[in-house]
């Protein structure tokens, strides 16, 4: 049981992650790179093992017992994902390799059909490259143009600019739910409502939110949503695209191959309905099963409890870091995701992360796939600490101690 008297037993939960119990360069590992990827609980690792030990076969085609089991587990995982993100139906869930592939699918397949020369794509200045570059590529192909909601100095979106940016020429609005380098939580329901009012199709990048807080695509009111399994305890190489049924079925295929067709002649083919139309070839069956196991694990703890735990860690980290000499903290001071980004006068982010790593502390240093945002804040990069529910305040104390040592070493 993960709960003790109605409250999650966080120590017990931490012990579900075998990888955390190790030393790195002679020091106990402190893993604060969760915005890049999270560690996997034993339940997920066991689900993969169970699948390969017992049920492995290809899906949707074999008329034998193992194929039936694999297909059943794969489609049940789709149902589990649909429930988890509040979709109306499992048919609205496409399995992909992750957030990046999900967004590329929408840009290439939906954008390729529905975007025209002169249309605008509205993004924000804080998008991860994965929610920027696919739009640059399709814009160049069809002659559409990009427009951006600016970011304020405190790391929030300049919403007062929205009225002038959201003109009827905007056909697509895409925005991150939680900024991967600032931790900003964007008001995505309000943004989607405003975008819908001018007739724009909406996409929300949920890479940093799906495993960290309750997210319901129907409450957000978006047409598309994308997320990655590996940022929420599932394996790498599996993720999902949510697409509202009507819009997903209007979207043409993008990859051709087996599994996505109805009839094939030498000249032409007809295609299945969504979501199978978008899943050409043998899918990542084990990954999908691992994702469902991660969802079960997260739901047993409760996403509201995870959000509160992460928020307490983040608040504590900000309180401790602000005391440090020569530190500049980026991002909003209020409610934010489990991400803390900073710059220290004494050391470049890469020197700092090398120093931290030699003390067993895994941080990320660099531009975090946010080059335009780094330029916006006039920094070449930042050092980022990002937390998950298995992290502790004692680990934050350890980080602060190491950063003080780094200040002395480099200063």
């Amino acid at each position: 049981m993960v709960h003790k008297a109605g409250v999650p037993d966080w120590n017990r939960i931490r012990s579900d992650f075998p990888i955390l119990d190790q030393t790195v360069h002679g020091h106990p590992l402190v893993y604060f790179d969760n915005a890049a990827t999270t560690q996997k609980p034993r339940a997920v690792i066991e689900a993969l093992r169970h699948y390969y030990d017992n049920d492995n076969a290809n899906v949707h085609r074999g008329l034998h017992e193992l194929s039936a089991r694999a297909t059943d587990a794969y489609e049940k995982s789709r149902q589990r994902v649909a429930e988890y993100i509040g979709a109306a139906s499992a048919d609205e869930i496409v399995f992909t390799r992750g957030t990046t592939e999900s967004i590329n699918l929408v840009a290439r397949a939906w954008g390729g059909k529905f975007l025209r020369a002169g249309d605008f794509i509205l993004l924000t200045e804080m998008e991860h490259h994965s929610n920027l570059v696919p739009w640059q590529l399709i814009a160049e192909r069809v002659g559409a143009r990009l427009r951006f909601i600016p970011v304020n100095d405190d790391g929030t979106l300049a919403l007062e600019e929205l009225s002038s940016l959201l003109t009827p020429e905007v056909k697509l609005f895409a925005c991150t739910h939680v900024s991967n380098s600032l931790g900003t939580i964007n008001p995505v329901a309000e943004l989607c409502a405003r975008a819908r009012a001018v007739g724009a199709v909406t996409l929300i990048d949920c890479a940093q939110s799906a495993g960290h807080m309750p997210v319901s695509v129907q409450e957000v009111g978006c047409d598309f949503a994308a997320f990655s399994g590996h940022k929420m305890g599932a394996p790498t190489g599996i993720g999902a695209l949510y697409g509202r049924a009507e819009i997903l079925n209007a979207t043409p295929p993008w990859h051709g191959g087996g599994e996505m067709i109805v009839n094939v002649s030498l000249e032409k083919s007809t295609f299945k309905k969504a979501p199978h139309r978008f899943e050409a070839g043998t899918p990542n069956i084990a990954g999908a099963i691992g994702l469902a196991a991660a969802i079960d694990y997260i739901e047993a703890i409760g996403r509201a409890a995870i959000f509160e735990h992460d928020a307490n860690l983040t608040t504590y980290a900000l309180e401790r870091l602000v005391e440090m000499p020569g530190i500049r903290l980026l991002g909003p001071s209020g409610k934010r995701g489990a991400i803390v980004s900073f710059v220290m006068d004494s050391a470049h982010p890469h020197d700092l992360t090398t120093f931290a790593d030699q003390h067993g502390l895994a941080l990320r240093g660099g531009h975090h796939c946010n080059q335009p945002l780094m330029r916006r804040f006039g920094v070449p990069g930042t050092t980022r600490a990002s937390f998950y529910f298995y992290n502790t305040t004692a680990e934050i104390d350890r980080m602060v101690e190491i950063l003080h040592d780094a200040n002395r070493f480099f200063g």
């Binding site: 360069h25 002679g26 050391a347 470049h348 982010p349 890469h350 020197d351 090398t354 120093f355 030699q358 003390h359 660099g366 531009h367 080059q371 780094m374 070449p380 990069g381 070493f409 480099f410």
Partner: protein
């Protein structure tokens, strides 16, 4: 403190990163190379002036980046200043070997640059150490004017 860290950040390297030598503009430079390490955001702009015997009469650099990239630019420009083109190429070649190879050789012609041997234990930092080296190599290959290099090999 781990010995790897102390090998990487030798006192001389930290000193050059805090107070880089040859840092500044060179208005009458013959060749300028902009070196970019996009994965880190490090930038180094090298300017070279050649003398009457075609030696590297003066070098200056500007830019920003981590301690390793700044210190290597500082120490490399000091080392090759006044050297002929062939001498400079030998030094750069030896420096590249020092930070990338697993051999323990550290040719004496490198002098203080031998301090960068600790970088080889940190494969992800080799690019930082080589940014200025690559920029100077490029400067020797171009007849004049400006150019850019990137550690990521853009298409």
């Amino acid at each position: 403190m781990s010995s790897e860290l102390e090998d990487l950040y030798q006192e001389v390297i930290l000193d050059h990163s805090r107070r880089p030598r040859n840092f500044g503009e060179l208005p009458d430079a013959a060749v300028r190379v902009h070196g970019d390490n996009p994965s880190c955001g490090d930038e180094i702009h090298i300017a070279v002036k050649f003398g009457t015997d075609d030696e590297l009469a003066d070098l200056k650099f500007t830019g920003h980046g981590c301690a390793i990239s700044q210190a290597s630019a500082s120490l490399l420009t000091m080392k090759v200043k006044g050297k002929s083109r062939p001498e400079t190429m030998s030094i750069l070649h030896a420096f590249r070997g020092l930070v990338t190879n697993e051999t323990d050789e550290a040719p004496s012609l490198l002098g203080d640059l031998r301090l960068f041997r600790g970088v080889r234990k940190f494969p992800q930092r080799v690019k930082c150490a080589l940014l200025a080296c690559r920029a100077i190599e490029q400067a020797l290959q171009q007849p004049g004017g400006e150019s850019s290099i990137s550690t990521e090999g853009e298409a």
